[in-house]
Amino acid sequence: MSYNTPNITLPKFTYYKADNLADALSLLKQYNGKARVLAGGIELFKQMRQRLIVPEHIIDIKGIEELRKIDVTDRGIEIGPAVTAVELQKSEIIREKCPPLFKAASFMGDRILQNSVTIGGNLTSGLPCTEGVPALMSMDSVLEVRSAERSRILPVSDLILNIRKTTLNSDEIITKIIVPYNGGLSGGYLKLLNASEMAVANVAVALFSAKRKLRLAMGAVNVKPYYFDESTLGWKWNESIEENIRLALNAIGSTIKPMAYNRVASAEYRGEIAKVLAARALKELFRGA
């Protein structure tokens, strides 16, 4: 994958600003396959300038109030897909209750882009290096996905299908991101770059100490993210952190299949960095716990 494009202009399309979700879904149904949803637009416009995608219709969902909210409900924390990276970082709820996402949000593009980048756009870009996917996976998050006809729940871990491809159908929109915990967790997020703005690896960790649940999710290492919990990490609560990190790194090392991808990093380096970041993230997590 490369971002080279000779073009300065965007291809032609018709723009719709949806006022409510029903309108957006019906437009998406009407133009099924020929329309794209505009949330942040960063990845979308890059791909359009490159003519990788040439949608005839663009449906802007940023004006839909219900997609821009962060709420605490009985399902946990509900985040609208049109919430921007800046809004995530300004939110007390996110800061207190979703620390991996709070930290990841500060890496979603630079500070200026973060005013435009949305969590929904970040997730659906389908890029292996996306920040949101591992951050949300570490909190066992799910997505509420809707089309004009139906609604379904999709675990974040099942979202990425391939590079720039997700498991969303072309008439579907993410309408809610649901973090199924209302607080009580600590967590972190780490990312490493290698002479490119594309991550070599990124790691999110979350610890629900009351329930003795530990999660570690890892992006950029391969096309799809990796997910570990206390059992797949081989975690032993009565052992020291150093022993546990050793066990975890063994488990991670025997699970991940790092890729050489886009000349950003070799598979070997990716794999090692993933482990280093995992170790540091775990260490920081327990030092802080």
């Binding site: 399309f13 600003k17 300038r49 593009g109 200026i112």
Partner: protein
């Protein structure tokens, strides 16, 4: 084509745009606001940054139609803001520019940052300004200029 309304540096403008036109081109080519530069046309360099309803956005990644009804502020417009003028003066004094091509973007962005957080310093300040590339490498001078201008953005001033 559709007609949109933009308030650009305080003046209300009606302008006809195509749906696929970005704010950058409408500002530069149709409204003559040439302080808004471009160097990558894909959100990576930050030179096309403008304040849209008070928030810095990269105008090459913003459709003109998305900006309909909104307020745009650029470096030309900031000259009439007393604090921003002092910020500009601080850039001049500190030599916080060489070729000057990225300077308008740094001005609008640092104006936004100081308006929001006049005590900002150190790594936080660097991070806030990380969305704009200066190939001449004037980061040291910009850093000093913005820090020095903080006093004008504090309440007592």
């Amino acid at each position: 084509m559709r007609t949109i309304t933009l308030t650009v540096n305080g003046l209300s403008k009606e302008v006809s745009v195509n749906d696929n036109e970005v704010l950058l081109n409408v500002l530069r080519d149709k409204l003559g606001v040439t302080s808004v530069k471009a160097a990558c046309w894909k959100g990576e360099c930050g030179l096309c940054t403008v304040l849209l309803n008070g928030l810095p956005v990269k105008s090459c990644m913003t459709l003109a139609v998305e900006a309909d009804g909104k307020e745009v502020i650029t470096a030309e417009g900031l000259y009439s803001d007393d604090r921003a003028k002092k910020l500009q003066e601080s850039f001049v004094k500190h030599g916080a520019l060489q070729c000057g091509f990225c300077t308008p973007a740094f001005i609008v962005t640092s104006h936004h940052v100081l308006s929001k957080e006049p005590d900002i310093d150190g790594e936080d300040l660097k991070k806030e300004l990380s969305g704009i590339i200066c190939r001449c490498g004037t980061y040291y001078q910009i850093y000093d200029a913005v820090r020095d201008a903080r006093k004008y953005y504090k309440k007592e001033h």
